[in-house]
Each structure stands twice: as C-alpha cells, then as structure tokens.
C-alpha cells in the first residue's frame, strides 16, 4: 500500500486560476518526501487537497488508500498536519493545547497527558509547558504545532514550511525528530518548503513544483540524472595545459565537468605532467538547488510530468 498517491490531480480556483496542474505522485511508506517550490507554486494547495480541505477540480488522490475528499474525517485519523494557518489556542498553555488536541483525536485523557509530556520533552519545550501559548515565540509555536500534529501518532505527517521562523538550533532538533519518526515509526513525511538546502538535509525523495506544474520527482540521484549526473571539479593551479585555459573562472581557478570520479586522476596527472603546480582539487555534484533551477531553465519535467 502506498502512503500517498495523486492521479493527474488539478485544482483551479475561480475557474481560471490553476493552482495545480495534472500532478501525479506516488509516495511509499516511511518516505520523507520534499515537495519543493517557491511561494505560490501550489504546495499548500496540494496539502489541502491531500487533507480533504479542498476538492480536486480534476483527478483524484489517496492517503493510505483513503480518498480525503470522500472520507476526510477517516483520513484525519491517520494524518497530522502543520500549516501556517493551523494555529492553537492562545489562552491555553502548551501542555493544555496538546492534551485538548489529543482528546479531539479520541485519545484517552491519561494517555493524552503522557504523550503531551513526552512530545514537549522531545521538542525542547518542557520549560514552557505551563506558559500560555500567547507568550510563546514564533519558533516555540512552530515546535508545538509539530507536537500537536504528532499527538495521535499519525501514519502520514504533512508539514507545510515547518521550519519557517525557527533558529538554527530549533531547525536541527526538528530535523532530528522528523528523521527519527520516519526511521523508527515508519511515518511518511510530506514536507513542503521553499528552502531547498534544508530539504536536501532530511528528505529521501523530492517533487519539484513550479507554477502548479510538477517539474520532476524522484530521489536526488534520479533528479540529477535528468539534468547532469556528473560532477564539477574545481582546480586551483598554475601552468595548466592549453586545453584548460578556456575553463578558467579567473586567476588560478579552473572548472572541469566530469562524468565520474575516475576521470579526476588523469586530469591531475595531465596538469602535473605539463609542469603545472596544483594547490587544490575539489569535486562537487549538483545540489538540489542547482537541479531545481536547471529544470526550470529547461522548462521541462525530466520524466515528462
């Protein structure tokens, strides 16, 4: 059973504004899927469709075999959601909020209380346990939202920009928690963000979206192979052979594109044999960010989606 499936799903607002355009995706259980794109690309619309808050204009979707537009309440039982617009109650403390949402998910009060306590500890909010939410900082609120979404041990977790407003330390603890969830509890994570570097740290697969169109999806390796599977070798050297002259990026720095690491030693040998001096050699594969921009540049989806 797949955790999330969307089948040529579209959503059009006010009959003209196409927020999502025939998106097809398939996520396995335990996957940490990064749904990446700039603001307004259609990420939040996708989360709302997958949670039954919106009905697709075209196509269908399933979360653990449940169609959220048909049985939203059944689907909510197995899903947790963190979005910017899903806030909690300012007049209740962090702990009271979690216990309330636990009860709302049908968890018995005693279990809800112990689960709330353990989540507060995991997210570093123990000291703020009895503080009213109104006194929480943006980062603390965000972490509490994550705890709220996890209170009922969901099978699928939808996180829409979960680290916005978080300091680096909090980002680190949230990342650890997400990884741990996927690894130990088999939770599938659907993570929407525009921070591609952040996504690359924790996701196991990706979907790249722009203006409602899915540009490509797959693992980092699969995405790279759609653009350029090789690597860029940066060399700082003097007295390089003539064929390297055109690859200079100014001064002693040169860049060479290779298909695999095995091509690097012959390059070094060629420079040394030519009597050149090498100060530094580094190799770098395409980052997610570079792949994303390359795909937008190409104006195509690698797998045709």
């Amino acid at each position: 059973m797949k955790a999330v499936i969307t089948n040529v799903m579209s959503k059009t607002y006010a009959q003209t504004n196409k927020a999502l355009n025939r998106v097809s995706l398939s996520l396995s259980k335990g996957e940490v899927f990064g749904f990446l794109g700039p603001n307004g690309a259609g990420k939040t619309t996708m989360v709302k469709l997958l949670n039954g808050m919106l009905t697709p204009t075209e196509g269908r979707c399933w979360v653990c075999d449940i169609d959220p537009s048909q049985e939203p309440e059944k689907m909510h039982r197995i899903a947790g959601v963190v979005t910017e617009h899903a806030q909690m109650y300012d007049h209740l403390s962090g702990y009271e909020n979690l216990v309330f949402y636990g009860n709302l998910f049908g968890i018995r009060s005693s279990e809800s209380q112990s689960r709330a306590q353990s989540l507060l500890e995991k997210l570093g909010l123990t000291n703020a346990r009895d503080k009213k939410l109104g006194a929480y900082s943006t980062g603390m609120r965000q972490r509490l939202s994550l705890a709220r979404a996890m209170i009922h041990r969901p099978e699928v977790l939808f996180l829409d920009e979960p680290t916005s407003g978080l300091d680096p330390e909090s980002v680190h603890s949230v990342n650890q928690l997400i990884k741990q969830l996927a690894r130990e509890e088999g939770t599938t994570v659907f993570l929407c963000t525009h921070q591609l570097r952040y996504a690359q740290e924790i996701c196991s697969s990706y979907g790249l979206i722009n203006e409602g169109v899915l540009l490509a999806d797959g693992t980092l390796e699969q995405l790279r192979s759609m653009v350029f599977a090789g690597m860029t070798v940066s060399i700082k050297a003097d007295g390089v052979p003539p064929e390297f002259q055109s690859r200079g990026s100014g001064g002693q720095d040169y860049e060479v594109k290779v298909e695999s690491e095995s091509e690097i030693p012959p390059i070094v040998k060629r420079i040394v044999d030519h009597g050149g001096s090498i100060y530094r050699v580094t190799s770098k594969r395409m980052s997610l960010e570079e792949i994303y921009f390359a795909l937008i540049e190409q104006g195509k989806g690698g797998d045709g989606k």
Partner: protein, 263 residues
Amino acid sequence: MINSMQKALIKKDIKSITSNKRMLSVILIVPLVLTILMPTIFILTAHFVPEDAGDLQQMIDLLPQTQRGVSMEQMITALMMNNVMPLFFVIIPIMAASVMAASSFVGEKEKRTLETLLYCPLTLEQIFYAKILASFIISMAVTLTSFAAMIVVTQIELLLLSGELLLPDINWVVILLLISPAISLIAITMIVRGSVKAQSVEEAQQRAAFLILPMILLMVGQLTGLILINVFILLVIGIVLAVLALIYMRSAMRKTSYEIVLK
C-alpha cells in the same frame, strides 16, 4: 449522539468563555440588568407610587376578571411578573447565544484555530453540532440562572415590602422549557450559519440583532395592551419555534463544506 471527541470540543468552548472575564461580563451584565434591576424598579414603583402606573391602564384593563379587585400594587406587580418579564427571557438567550456562538465559530476563524480543528477526525457536521451545543448550554445556563436570580430577588423584595409572595404563573414553564431554548437554537444556528461567510465576530453578531427586533415589537405590544398572550397560544408558538429551530439547524449544516468554511 455526542462522542468523546465532541465532548472535548464542547468542554473547551465552554471553558474559553467562562475563563474570559471580558466575555463573561458581556454575557452576564444584560441579564443582571433585565432580571434584577428592572423588576426591582417595577416593584418599588408599584409599592411607593402606584398611581404613576397609569400608562399600564390599557393593559390592566385586558387582564382576566379574576385578577381584578385586588390592589393596584398587586395588579401592577402581577403584570410585570407574568406579562413583561417573560419577554426578557426571550432576549437573554438570544444575547447569550450570539456572544457565545460568534466567539466559538468566527472567533476561531479570526484566531486561525478553525483550520486546526478541521484537521481532526470529526465531520464538519459533528463540529457544527458540538459548537451549537456548547453555545446552547451556555445560553440556557445564563437564562435559567437569570430566572432563579429574578425569582429569589423579587420574592424577597415583595415579602419585605408587602409581606406577600407572588409566584410565577404557568406561562413561565412554556417560556423557559420551550420558547427560550427554541429561540436560543435559532439564534445560534443563524450565527453559525452566518459565520461560515463572516470574517469577524461583530459581523456574525449583527445577524442575531435582527432576531431581537421582533421581540422588542412584541414587548411594545404587551405594554400597550395590544397583545396579551395566553398559555395555549404561547404553547403553540413554542412548539412551532422548536420545530423551526430543529429544521433550520439541520438544513444549515447540510450546505457547508471545508472549502466554504475556510474561505
């Protein structure tokens, strides 16, 4: 049937009103003025200057013959207790329900907690029911407490001033058990239904103000002796209102979807 998840929501909604001093005072001040201050003024006026009650003569003339022959003070007091005060018990549930319902629905929308609520495993209909019930409980609690407070205060006053008690008549049973709950339910449904589109608490509350208007007209009618409702007419009105309230509540919930609510 209400499930444990709905119970949690109802409990939270009631607690958020009772723990909010500003909101609680808004809900309590009007009933206090209407059910304690107003009858006290009536009783004092009737006791000390009964001749000033000339404005009520038309209404007194309409009273059943059995009530005649008693003193002017007793007549005015009976008129106040059984013909004027019941109208306040139609206004009180509307007022309490509108404050509570607007805060529990549009308030959640304003504070962006509604979306979080929609992600829970309850259907939209179950959420609506829970919210309506929470408002209904508060509204009826305020109404019944106001009645108890009014009875205690007026009876003590009457006992001290004239040495006699004046117990409420049969109309009160119909008012408290049928008309007040039905009117309260209509007001709540009206607000919850309006809340779907309303973007602010004030906007939602304004809708209930339209319900108060016919009540004020009814009161003017009572005071000028134009309308004098007996218990049977009251019972019929109560049953019609209760049926209308239930139909209205059911139809209001069928026409919504997450998409409309979150707009």
